[in-house]
């Protein structure tokens, strides 16, 4: 398995298009029922569990938003952001500052309108802070950019979070929950609403030129620009979008906790967020949501298992919360080494089925579909290869695959070959119907 294991960052990306086979009416009904069951189940659980559970569920929703924000940078752009606690934390303080200092929320009351405005302001602040990082990312990539993001978050922690008027020092900046959405349960549903909005935008992102452009840039900037993509703009746009999502999450965190304290946003949580996206599966929306929710709910899941909870608390004398980091990072290592597609890949048969494809364990174009390799024939003329040579025009070396491809492709004419791919040249020679009619 190790052979396929390595490419976490290169894991099969999101698939953009639906296909020709369509499920029957019954098939669609079955899918809709399952979807309804899933969403209904989540809503029903949120409605009936005790309040402190609902509070944790809202954290799960917020983590999912953060996961989707990180996923844009990690999965779509392909860079590592180790300072996301900076974006989220700054946005949280901004939201709280706006609500309490500027819009006059008191410790008892805060209007819904103020909350929404605060969230918008927080989203904007996230966008601005992320945009700065995006501009840096135009010049610096890879490991060194990761280092810069780490330092970015470090500065947020040590400097910005210490600014007195913004953060009120150790006491923290208050952010009272909006009227009508004050209980834990109501707030959880509020978070669901924002999560749904974020999912919608992420969905439209991938289904439109924006997402395609960003993915094309990730794989090959030079080809992307030859396709007409403005590489600079779309790279920065990706960071801005990530910042907007992070800003929304920050605001929600602020109003959830009702007091924003800088301790809540440290580098350990930033690293944990990166790991949760890795475990979820880079670039895989569903996986990231599930992974993020899992990380948020983990201690509570332990609580569910009575004997285990008892063992941890009483025999070991530890809080279940402590184990989140251990289990989370162990899962991340496992994912990177063994299952690079993460949770997303594991549940992909289900998500593909729900999306309207036939149920199968493999994606189209991978696994099942095996294009026939052209037979490696001896080179047609030594002259052709010699003329082509081993070097490109600029003196750079031809890659190994290009050389191998040359060896494969230099073959006898179509008439000698039984396999389909060489016959596409037959299409050229014979001419397809449409083209000839023009």
């Amino acid at each position: 398995m190790t052979a396929s294991a390595t490419e976490v960052m290169e894991a099969p990306g999101p698939t953009l298009e639906a296909e020709r086979w369509s499920p029957s009416a019954g098939g669609w009904t079955a899918r809709l029922l399952v979807l309804a069951a899933i969403f209904g189940g989540v809503i029903w659980v949120t409605a009936i569990v005790p309040n402190y559970w609902a509070d944790r569920i809202s954290l799960a929703a917020i983590f999912a938003i953060i996961g989707l924000s990180l996923n844009i940078v990690l999965g779509y752009v392909g860079q590592v952001s180790l300072g996301h606690h900076g974006f989220v934390g700054i946005a949280a303080f901004v939201a709280a500052y706006y609500a309490t200092e500027k819009a006059g929320c008191s410790l008892d009351a805060c209007s819904f309108g103020t909350f929404m405005t605060a969230t918008v302001v927080a989203a904007l602040s996230g966008a601005v802070v992320a945009m700065l990082l995006g501009l840096i990312a135009l010049r610096i990539k890879g490991l060194y950019l990761a280092l810069i993001t780490l330092a970015y978050g470090f500065v947020a922690e040590r400097s910005i979070f210490e600014i007195p008027f913004l953060t009120r020092g150790g006491a923290g900046m208050p952010a009272t929950r909006p009227d009508g959405w004050g209980t834990d349960r109501e707030f959880a549903f509020l978070c669901f609403f924002f999560l749904a909005a974020v999912i919608f935008v992420d969905w439209r992102l991938l289904r439109s030129k924006v997402g395609r452009a960003i993915l094309a840039i990730k794989h090959s900037e030079s080809v992307a620009s030859t396709y007409g993509v403005n590489v600079t703009s779309y790279k920065v746009l990706a960071f801005i979008l990530s910042g907007i999502f992070a800003g929304i999450a920050g605001s929600l965190l602020a109003f959830r906790a009702e007091t924003v304290v800088s301790n809540d946003f440290n580098f350990a949580i930033a690293l944990l967020w990166v790991l949760m996206v890795v475990v979820g599966g880079l670039g895989n929306r569903v996986g990231v949501i599930i992974g993020s929710a899992f990380f948020a709910l983990f201690p509570f899941l332990i609580v569910l298992i009575g004997p285990l909870d008892h063992f941890i608390r009483d025999t070991l004398g530890r809080e279940p919360d402590y184990f989140t980091i251990v289990i989370g990072s162990a899962l991340a290592i496992l994912t990177i080494i063994q299952y690079p597609g993460g949770i997303g890949e594991q549940v992909s048969p289900i998500t593909r089925w729900l999306g309207g494809k036939r149920f199968s364990l493999h994606a189209e174009g991978h696994g099942g579909h095996k294009p026939k390799e052209a037979k490696a024939a001896k080179p047609a003329t030594g002259g052709l290869l010699a003329k082509v040579g081993l070097h490109n025009e600029d003196g750079t070396e031809r890659s190994d695959e290009a050389l191998a491809a040359l060896g494969r492709a230099v073959e006898r004419p179509a008439s000698h070959d039984p396999g389909p791919p060489p016959d596409v040249w037959g299409a050229l020679v014979g001419g397809k119907k449409k083209g000839d009619e023009r």
Binding site: L16, S208, R212, Y227, E364, E393, P413, V424
Partner: protein
Amino acid sequence: MSSVLNIKDTGIRFGGLVALKDVNIQVPEWEIVGLIGPNGAGKTTLFNCIMGAYQANTGSIEYRDRDISLLPTHRRVALGIGRTFQNIGLVRGLTVLENCLVAQHPRIGYGAIGALVGAPRSFSEERRLKRYAMEVLDFLGLTHLAHSQLDGLPYGTLKLIEIGTVLATDPDLLLLDEPSSGMGPDEAHALGERLLKLRKTLNLTVLMIEHHVPLVVGVCDYVYVLNFGQIMTSGRPQEVQRHPEVIAAYLGGEAEGTSEEEASDVPA
């Protein structure tokens, strides 16, 4: 006939290495112009300058009488210049269909913001884009590969897909970098026929880097010879083919390059 592409006194150097010097090339409308020369002559470097991947140090590049020397690559593409790569210019992580969709990027009728918030226009445009992409794939006989990843597909198929994507950008000027590389004589012949047909049906102008001499002789209206970064000579293909310096530049030439029989194979 006016020039679609006018390269004036263009030169570029990398550190101490002069890759191109005093290059002057005119590509008139609807002509297929060939660019030949030994390896290392600077042909792909010139393409990179035309496309904006490299910034020429001297001279200017004009497209339809408009100086594009300072425009970024994506703007030049939007003006109508399409380009293929020697090593296959496709995005490897995306499927065939996705590549054809991205290729239409300059022609998309909705804005980024509209797309993100789900404007109705983005939905209808997407349907149109997909239809057009499928048409191009159908034209090339590749619909069965629409959702395939590019890895594992044979070199010849990838070349074909690349032609599809470059056509999807709806270009007026096509820069082809060794389109026949990896092909035997019959396929190259077929490619030549295809190019002539496309030129007629799509009103294309073509500048083509090529090594395959029969293809050059049969298809090109005019040929420039580049050697050590400078234009050595230019003229109609038959003349250039017999030019003694050209033959010498190719180091004695191969049977493929100078055979009389192969030259007669080729359509007029």
